[in-house]
Each structure stands twice: as structure tokens, then as C-alpha cells.
Symmetry: C2
Subunit: 363 residues, 2 copies
């Protein structure tokens, strides 16, 4: 299992440069590092001074790099899908469609990226994977997919398995779906979270919740818009349950004290000329030290409270709705569905207030 590190912030604030410096720092500490870039454009290659491709290549001692090219990933995964289809469908329909002709649709790229990260993580080859994503809400939605997909299967699973439509097709699809998700497709499995780390989604959720497995850092410059964007992404990250470990204040000799980022540690990253990595490497925090960061969610059944850490938002930017055993919290452009535990399930929300960056919901 690896630590997956990623960087959030406004475009142009230096995320990719910092991702490279972080990868170099960790490799110099003896960690086995993979630098995995979402953008298949020329930027990363120019910054590194070497051309990259969709095949993993070693670029320095203990340091590999790869561009997560969606079309190549789609081609690779398609062959697996075809094998499964041939195995489970009596008359396979997609066997004549070739991986190299498939066009990437929005969303496919992100699912494929997340799956690639999962595979690199599971390979056991890397201590740290530095993921240079788009660093915005899309990155958050991508990392939040295990949680979102679990919600969809929980919410729709029972409805769908009871429908005429699915009763009709299930003899065709059941073995296929069971294999892909490693779950049995019954109403019970979807009616409530099982709490077992027994499938790919539960494993993804477990990784997301653990700051030793997945952590994000905010990157900003002194541009007020970059600071406001970093704050917004910090709050939005909590909505998918992603731990944010600190702030990297780029292109500055000394980091200013910025009230909005409390209680995060702010590191000053100096402005250097292209290719001069050492000052950046020296200025970065030790990513292997697990920092004490506020937990995105704390449930206190005894006091009938759910505490959500939601920095950067105020009460009028947050919307609460309740439906059955779930409470939906909307903040920014992210929704989070909280499945209430037995002690709170069935109770109605009686109040909500903001206190020191926390949204406290009472029942």
C-alpha cells in the first residue's frame, strides 16, 4: 500500500512544479516514488526535461513517472471487459469492438485514472504515488468516486433489483456485475452499508479516510484569487472526506499568516529559476509525517450530534436535506450523503450551527 499525495489549487499556482519537487524529495529520502500525471500535454515533460508516455519509466533513482493517458488506459481495460463478457454472456456483443478505436468520454478518463492509481497502489512497487491531477473540484469528484458510487448502489440498488426491468435482465448481468464489483447483487447488500472492507468500493473509501493512504495539500500564491480558490477547495475536499495536510504557499520567502487556513501548517516555498529543484525540495514539509488534521466527519451518538469540518463555508452557503436514514449536506458544488448510525437513524434534524469551521448538526 502506498501513500497517495495530491495538490489542490488554482491553475497556474505551481501545482505541477510542486508535485515534481515532492516526488524528488520523497525519492531522495529512499522512498520508492511514482509521479503519475493526469495532464497528457507537454507541461510535465518540459518541467522534468524528459518526455513521458503512458508507460511507466524510471526518471531517477527510486523515481518513476507516467502520464495517465485515458485512451491507452481505455484500450488496456477494454480487453479485460471483453474477457469478462465472453466468460459470462451467452452471446457476447462487444467482442468485435477493438480497444484502439474507443473514444474517451468525459468521466471515463477520471474513472480510468482512479483505477490506474488503485492498481499502482496495489502493485506494492511504490511507497508513495504523487498524483498530479487537475487539482480542482474534478479531482475531488474523482477521488470521491468510491463514496459516490457506494451511495448510488445503496440508494438505487434495492429499487433496481426489485424492478421488473432488472428481474428480466438479471440472469444475463448478475454474474458479470458480481465479478466486477466483487459483491453479490442482492437487495440486502445495498440496503445499508455493510461496514465490511469486502469490495473495491469499500477499499477505496477506507483509503480515502486514512491520511496515511491519501492526503492532499493546498497550493497557493499571494494572489487573493488563488487564496480564495485554495480555501474553497479545502472545504470542498472535506465534502468527499479527503484529508488536507497543509498549505504550500508558493513563490514566497516567508509565508504570511492567513487566518482562513488555520489550523493547517503553512510552508513557504521560494521562487526559483527553472530546473533549480533543491530550494523547493528543502522548503517542502515532510509528507511522510502524518499531520494532525481535523477529521472531515465526527459522529457523536451520545450527544446526538454530527460534526462536519467545513472550512471556508458559512451557514448560508450550506443546504441540509433529510430523506429516510440519510442527511444530505450541500456545500459549494459538492453533496455529501451521511448515512446515520443506529442511534441517530430515524431522528429528525433539530438544528445546525457553524462553530470554528465545523458544521454541527443536532438531532
Amino acid at each position: 500500500m502506498s501513500l497517495i499525495l495530491t495538490f489542490l489549487g488554482k491553475g497556474g499556482s505551481g501545482r505541477t512544479t510542486i508535485a515534481i519537487a515532492a516526488a524528488k524529495k520523497l525519492a531522495s529520502q529512499g522512498k520508492r516514488v511514482l509521479l503519475a500525471a493526469e495532464d497528457t500535454g507537454p507541461a510535465l515533460g518540459l518541467l522534468l526535461g524528459t518526455s513521458l508516455s503512458s508507460e511507466v519509466q524510471q526518471i531517477a533513482t527510486s523515481l518513476d513517472a507516467v502520464q495517465l493517458k485515458a485512451s491507452a488506459l481505455l484500450e488496456r481495460n477494454w480487453e479485460e471487459v471483453k474477457k469478462l463478457e465472453a466468460q459470462y454472456l451467452r452471446t457476447p456483443v462487444i467482442k468485435d469492438v477493438y480497444g484502439q478505436e474507443l473514444v474517451v468520454l468525459p468521466g471515463m478518463d477520471k474513472a480510468l485514472e482512479l483505477n490506474a492509481l488503485r492498481e499502482y497502489d496495489a502493485s506494492g512497487k511504490y511507497d508513495v504515488i504523487v498524483y498530479d491531477g487537475s487539482g480542482d473540484v474534478t479531482t475531488l469528484r474523482t477521488l470521491g468516486m468510491p463514496e459516490s458510487l457506494s451511495w448510488y448502489s445503496r440508494r438505487f440498488g434495492k429499487l433496481i433489483t426489485e424492478s421488473d426491468l432488472v428481474k428480466t435482465v438479471s440472469p444475463f448481468l448478475q454474474p458479470l456485475i458480481s465479478t466486477v464489483l466483487n459483491v453479490s447483487w442482492t437487495g440486502d447488500n445495498f440496503s445499508q452499508p455493510t461496514g465490511q472492507v469486502n469490495n473495491i468500493l469499500e477499499q477505496g473509501k477506507a483509503a480515502l479516510a486514512d491520511p496515511k493512504r491519501l492526503a492532499a495539500y493546498l497550493v497557493t500564491t499571494d494572489d487573493p484569487i488563488a487564496i480564495a480558490t485554495a480555501t474553497y477547495l479545502w472545504g470542498s475536499a472535506q465534502q468527499v472526506g479527503l484529508n488536507v495536510g497543509g498549505v504550500l504557499f508558493n513563490q514566497t520567502a516567508t509565508a504570511p499568516t492567513i487566518e482562513e487556513f488555520s489550523p493547517l501548517t503553512v510552508s513557504a516555498i521560494p521562487n526559483t529559476s527553472a530546473g533549480d529543484w533543491q530550494p523547493l525540495i528543502d522548503a517542502l514539509p515532510d509528507f511522510t509525517q502524518v499531520t494532525q488534521v481535523p477529521k472531515p466527519i465526527e459522529v457523536d451518538v451520545a450527544n446526538r450530534q454530527v460534526k462536519l469540518f467545513l472550512p471556508g463555508f458559512d451557514k448560508k452557503q450550506v443546504k441540509l436535506t433529510q430523506s429516510g436514514p440519510e442527511v444530505t449536506v450541500e456545500a459549494g458544488d459538492q453533496r455529501r450523503n451521511i448515512f446515520l448510525p443506529p442511534g441517530l437513524s430515524g431522528r429528525t434534524v433539530s438544528g445546525a450551527k457553524f462553530q470554528q469551521g465545523y458544521l454541527i448538526i443536532s438531532f
Copy 2:
């Protein structure tokens, strides 16, 4: 019908600032303008000096603005989906799922954005829609969706309609799908493009192909990485058939001559202090003048040639594969499937060469 304008370039090169200036310029020319922003973070509001939301609001004479908030769009569209389901399925399964609890998955956001643009376009309220998207390959994939989805339905449609699985479910789904896509779900419709502008996808493809309906401009600064990224996006835009009208060279008094951007017109956009819009507005080109831009694709049946404009790529970055009546061209992280017309269909690719930014494929 509106002109939809968008800007491509590296993050931090000033795309959003230029989008605002472009919207202001067009409004001052008496056009009815909508500024539609993908990013729901605080950046656009701070630059405009006003807070925005997912509801369209007037921010100046002839100028409206909206944030394309995916969760709000999903909620709105969900009610439509439920109505269709209730109308066509004997036992609706999703009627108890509420729009305000739905979580946005990667890809949904883009499909919803494109649909929102389509609706604003069709509303007849705007002469120009300035779309401030992520300005990268994701924006290209989003705008290319009508083409990509058409390909999927063409390629998979016949296979799927002939499968046991679909023969079983089609009594349930056929009316629903026919309504949504406004096509009848028969093998014939998918076996080859009909050439008729008779459905939502064909309309989208027609808009994409017409520089009076949809045009992109490249934004760059003098940073070599920003220039390389703009060039890469220019080539990638051709792969989805998006016309690129020119280059906006930001933060400069006089635009340098850059060989890579030939034959595009390069406009120098000066560096101004925040809120000083007039110098930017004055420096921008006239977006309503249709520029002579190279067509992304030209098919010459007589000479048995297909010419693809692919600036920024060379022969070794391009991969060609042929399968049935289609040729797949892969460049960057984009694939384009070209359906060969009758005179070329059935012929094998006999050669391919690069000439002045064009990939010329001979049959």
C-alpha cells in the same frame, strides 16, 4: 442560435479574465451575452466584483452571468428524467429518489454543462454565450460529446440491438430511448450516419462544425510551457472538430511572432491592473467576424485523400488504425473515428504523411 465562444490554454494564463473581457466587449457591441462559467469556485465572482450563482443574473446591460453548478443542474434534470420514466415504464423505479440528494459523478458534470449550454443556445435569448470552461482536454472532450456519443451509438448500436440481452429488455427501454434521443432504435439508424440533422446529437455535431456557432481561442503568456500547452490544445481541438479562431497572447504589449501558431492571427493582450477592463476589451479581436481558419477535416474522394489539420503534432505522435468503414486517428490523448464516405469506404489506407500541419491519409 448563439455563437458559443470558449478559451483554451494552460491554467493561470488568464483564460477567465479574457472570458470576462470578451463578454463585456460583445455586450458593448449590442450583443445579448451570457457568461457561463464551469468553475463554481470564487474566482469569477471576485474578478467580476459580484457574487454569482446557478441562477442566471443580469450583471450589466446586455450581459447575464451564471455558474454551471453541476449539483443544481442534476437536480433540475432529474425531475425531467423521472417524468419520462413515469410515462414509459410500467413500474417506475426511481420515483422515490429525490434530485437534491443526487451526488455528482465525474462526467455527469460535463454532460450537464453541455446540455445547459444547448438549452441556453436554444432559448433564443443570447447572441453569444461565452463559456469559461476548464480550457483543457476535458473541455474538448465535453464539446466533442455529440460526435463521440454518435460514434458509440453507431458502433455499438447494431451489435447491441442484435444481442439477446437487448432483445429481452427493449420492450421496456425502447420508448424511453427513442424519446430522449429522438431517434428510433433500429439497427438501420446505427449502421451508418444518416446525414440528417434530426436529433440532438446531429444538432450538436452541426454546431461544432460551424465556426459561426462554436469557436475557441487559444490563450497563452510568454511562458514556454504555456505556449507549448496552447499548441497541444490547438491540435487536440482539431481532433474533436472544434474550430480555433486565433491566439490571444496575454500580458504583453506586442505579440511576438511564433512559428507554431501560423496561420492563426495572434492578438496582443496587455497586462492591466485588476478591474481595468477597457484596455483588454480594446485589444481583443472582433469575435463576430468569422475568421478563415483551416478546416479540421477535408475529404477528397476524387484524389482518394483525407486531410486532417493537426497542428502541433508530428508523424510519430499520431497513430492510425483501420477497422471496417472507419479509420481511427489517435493524436495526443484524443481519438477521432472517421467514417469513410462511399468512394473511400472499403479501401485500405495506402499511406500517410505530414505536410504543413496537415496529416494527409491516402487510400
